[in-house]
Symmetry: C2
Subunit: 205 residues, 2 copies
């Protein structure tokens, strides 16, 4: 692509560094900004820079936060004895949206994935083990995605903490609410039968 | 969406102002920036701000430029007597890529589109008419997209300049190179027969 302006070229090049945004899309976005009032670009630019420079991660759960402790960890209404282990902050947001969990979180920051060069020491696993050592946590819920990497990460953490008295659970896998059985994959359907629950429990939610 | 950080929320909100980028995509992009070195975000932020504040539009053709006159208008190797009318700078880039046009451009900045509230006075039509008044332009090539709005814009400009001695042409519509006839739409196929060209001409390119 040949650009008629260096400034434009630089903006497009920087924009196309973002995942899923190619040169063409970047050009479309940048030209859109040129048609909008200057203030919009300045606001976007400042918001990104300030966010990257000033954002903090919660000292306890590694969630993104403006303070040293995130709102969830700092709240007196949350149950400190149950901790849900998730991959990233989007999972925290998704679970918070359901309003069905009142414990705390622990954000790993990824999954163990040798293919991508991510080992256990690149994740926030050590601090999780330390928290468990302190003995306040009674239950650890694994809520990673159900992939090879997710399962590996679950198992690695499980091995690290098996000497401590902590009950470990994992979120239920099964047929999604509203789905038809005939279209479900075999593994999910099989698991949903093996891990069936008392009928009365299904009436609660 | 509830965010655990105001800074994050502001960045996501600004990002999701861009066309085709919803809140989820914006969050994905912003979290990606958080995982990258700070320098990348600073570079993106500066590039966008500087581009928006310092970029100029060519005084003659309204193309984006770093100087008062764009490189194409300033070049002594271009034919000043042929001007290609295009919608926006992306069309200039697309035509320049073909290396088959050696004249100048005139960027309208859009198409007449009453549905979107864009009238002739929102486009760079007046300056085009003034350039034609000066008498240097011999041929005007309409290269707008072949839509209702494109045709309306072509016709509006045509009416404005019909008192001046200038030959007007429009880019050829027809079957794309490499396409099969049976899949072509009727209008395009019909036009390609009506506007057939001497066989010898097709051997040239």
């Amino acid at each position: 692509m040949e650009f008629s302006s260096r400034l434009l070229e630089r903006a497009v090049n920087e924009m196309s560094q973002l995942p899923g945004i190619g040169k063409r899309t970047a050009l479309r976005l940048v030209l859109h900004l040129l048609r909008q009032p200057k203030e919009q670009t300045v606001a976007l630019s400042e918001a990104l820079k300030q966010m990257r420079q000033d954002v903090k991660f919660c000292k306890s759960c590694h969630n993104i936060s403006d303070a040293d402790l995130c709102e969830i960890c700092a709240s007196p209404n949350r149950n400190e004895s149950v901790v849900c282990v998730v991959e990233d902050i989007r999972d925290v947001m998704a679970i918070e949206n359901t309003s069905s969990f009142k414990g705390l979180y622990h954000v790993l920051g990824g999954k163990i994935s040798p293919m991508d060069g991510i080992g256990p020491h690149d994740l926030n696993i050590e601090s999780l083990v330390k928290k468990i050592e302190q003995g306040k946590i009674k239950e650890l819920i694994f809520a990673l995605s159900s992939t090879m990497e997710g399962d590996t990460t679950n198992f690695y953490i499980y091995k690290q903490i098996q000497d401590y008295k902590v009950y470990t659970s994992t979120i239920a896998r099964g047929i999604a609410v509203g789905d038809e059985l005939e279209y479900a994959d075999e593994v999910t359907l099989g698991r949903s039968i093996v891990n069936r629950i008392p009928f009365e429990n299904s009436l609660k939610s």
